[in-house]
Subunit: 233 residues, 2 copies
């Protein structure tokens, strides 16, 4: 039995308007499902019941819905709705000598910095997708492929697999062996010890596309400006 690409494509069509920047996303979704067909243990699904199968129309629709929702969800950072822990401010005062007033300001800014950090990780994937998608890579958007961010096939039809991290000290995934015998190639954008970026060391598979820190900054600024404009409408 082989993977039914036409069925996956039909599922994607239900959710894709295939306009603007969604060009090529149908093909990416189909290949992500194809990869999951070959590596079923790579599916990550929160609910223990109703786990989608890439061999049924119903399963593919569930996955397509998640894929496109994640793609369209804004990654503009939203201030947290939680109330900061006062004890953190007490430690800031006692340990680092901040005034009560400064520690109150810091607790708000600290929350914003945390959501900004998450935003950087999300924007990094979006930037890479914007450059890599026209070059044959498929983004594993929607967080249902375990520990893998981008896939493509090589000339021998074997899967090539990339995992992206924003920093060398980001939490990393435990397993790197996958069933097809390929290993996950990992790349991180920045070095926590020096603050330097790592664009000079992208794996061979990602080379030749002019990926750069300045490209990332420009992409991020444009994305945030666009999303901000949407919010103020």
């Amino acid at each position: 039995m082989v993977f039914d690409e036409a069925m996956a494509q039909n599922a994607a069509v239900q959710y894709c308007d295939d306009q603007g920047d969604e060009q090529g996303l149908i093909q990416s979704f189909v290949q992500v499902c194809n990869f999951l067909y070959d590596n079923q243990d790579r599916l990550s699904w929160r609910s223990r019941t109703n786990i989608p199968s890439v061999q049924t129309d119903e399963g593919l629709r569930l996955l397509a819905k998640k894929y496109y929702s994640a793609y369209r969800r804004s990654d503009f950072p939203i201030r947290a709705g939680t109330i900061p822990d006062d004890m953190v401010s007490i430690v800031m005062v006692e340990a680092f000598g901040y005034s009560k007033e400064a520690s109150d300001r810091i607790k708000v800014e600290h929350q914003e910095a945390m959501v900004a950090e998450n935003c950087v990780g999300a924007l990094l994937e979006r930037y890479l997708d914007s450059v890599l998608r026209p070059n044959g890579w498929h983004w594993c958007c929607g967080s249902f492929v375990k520990a893998i961010d981008f896939i493509r096939r090589d000339q021998n039809n074997k899967w090539l697999v990339l995992q992206i991290k924003n920093r060398d000290n980001s939490e990393n995934s435990s397993s790197s062996a996958i069933r097809t015998g390929t290993t996950i190639q990992k790349w991180f954008r920045s070095l926590s010890r020096t603050g330097r970026t790592n664009w000079d060391n992208v794996p061979p598979l990602m080379q030749g596309f002019n990926l750069s820190e300045q490209g990332f900054i420009d992409f991020a600024r444009a994305y945030l400006a666009k999303e901000k404009a949407k919010m103020t409408i």
Copy 2:
């Protein structure tokens, strides 16, 4: 076969000076090892080789060394040696409208707030130990008991098991069933949605010892002042 308490006690004596606030720690170490003897799957050890056994003198010494090192290690927050990611500052400017100067200040304060957060979690365990130890509880210090922070036996000699979190949205452990058939009782100190503390809802096992937020604050201030004084000597 039963657990050899005398052998565990001998191992602890090698590392304990049994002065000042280490009173009772030998007994706590012995009981933590006794618990691991009954629940061997609860041992958490970073290295895959040389996993300590609570049935050998060598294993018990390894555990005792880790137990006492962790107890004596200062939890005073230390500024991180890492360089903040400039991209986070760019997002702070673009998304929240901070000036470049403000975002530079925030990135330092944000790092301090992160280490202060970790410190709060560590001090919470120390505070609970200071109150619960004289009341028959044993602190699982040293992070080698998986997802469990305090243990004791009930009148029927069954293990009672506590897991402590600083916040309701702290990362939580996956498994709560343990081999002896008891379940882990969980308690968190603060509610992220309201900012309120949760001392009125300590589990029955922890009641009657006057645990309170004010007690925690007083303990934390005294601890930090003492550790700060040590550093300036």
